[in-house]
Amino acid sequence: METTRLANLEITGEKGSFFIPHVFFDATTGKCLMEGESYLENTWQFYNQLMQWLQAYASSQGPISFDFKLTYFNTSSSKGILELLQFLKQYEDQGGEVEINWYYSNADEDMLEEAEDFIEDTQIKINLIPY
């Protein structure tokens, strides 16, 4: 019997006319990283593929440790990020092990406030880590 193993998800970051964040989701450890800037031509499509990966991974009931190291995202991306966090909260409520780290520059108060607003919205615990 063959089972299809979930592959890692890697998206190379790009900074041109649009900004694609670097993404690495590790299917073995559940360590997920998103870093850089998010301003996309098709925001829905981009975040939907992240969501589909998380849903597939969650079916294995493994732990998820999610590092957000974003320095910029537009409002459309912020809607996509909210949906990822809502999913993580739901996964946690169903017994999944979830840890979320939000890295932000000490000089960037707006990025800290974004995280605070996501916490307020989802009621999920997010570790706020200044650098």
Partner: protein
């Protein structure tokens, strides 16, 4: 009409002044200009950049002035950034259907009556709504602009004809 701020001898303070098709290449160029020319004020630079992206999306979505350019249909709008002593003035504008100006003016008016805490609450409220059929973006770009700038949105509407108006939106970003 004072669509563009009159700067006269302060012309040297005009960092960016553009009117034309908003293509991805133009956007990338202006992004780079913002980064280069506002480098002395990284915090303001980040805010101006974020505001630029949000407001340019409004031009892309709502400008009724379109031109064919290199085989693509592009939206036309104007952008201006002026460097004042203690702040930057970001202004954008485009032609819109007259029927859309009331919504824009009301949004700006509502936003200007709210403090930052209330704006963040409004943003969260709007963000959690399902994407409206009419909405092309996330639907809270103007609120985000007000949060980042922490200054009122200065909107002006100029009637062009019975169906169209030109609107400008200006906001100050403190250094």
């Amino acid at each position: 009409m004072a669509i563009f701020r009159t700067v006269n001898k302060l012309d040297k303070n005009v960092i960016i002044s553009y009117k034309g098709p908003i293509t991805p290449v133009v956007m990338a160029e202006i992004s780079q200009d913002i980064q280069d020319k506002l480098a002395a004020n990284p915090k303001a630079s980040r805010k101006v950049f974020s505001i630029f992206i949000e407001l340019v999306q409004n031009i892309l979505f709502y400008s009724v002035e379109k031109i064919q350019y290199a085989g693509r249909t592009e939206s036309v709008g104007m952008l201006q950034i002026i460097d004042m002593d203690n702040y930057y003035i970001f202004t954008c504008g485009n032609t819109v259907k007259k029927t859309e100006t009331a919504v824009l003016q009301n949004s700006c008016h509502t936003i200007n009556t709210l403090d930052k805490k209330e704006l963040r609450k409004l943003k969260r409220h709007q963000r959690i709504q399902p994407q409206g059929a009419h909405s092309k973006g996330a639907g809270f770009g103007l609120v985000q602009v007000a949060i980042l700038a922490n200054n009122p949105l200065d909107i002006h509407v100029y009637e062009i004809d019975s169906e169209h108006s030109f609107y400008t939106l200006a906001v100050n970003i403190n250094k």
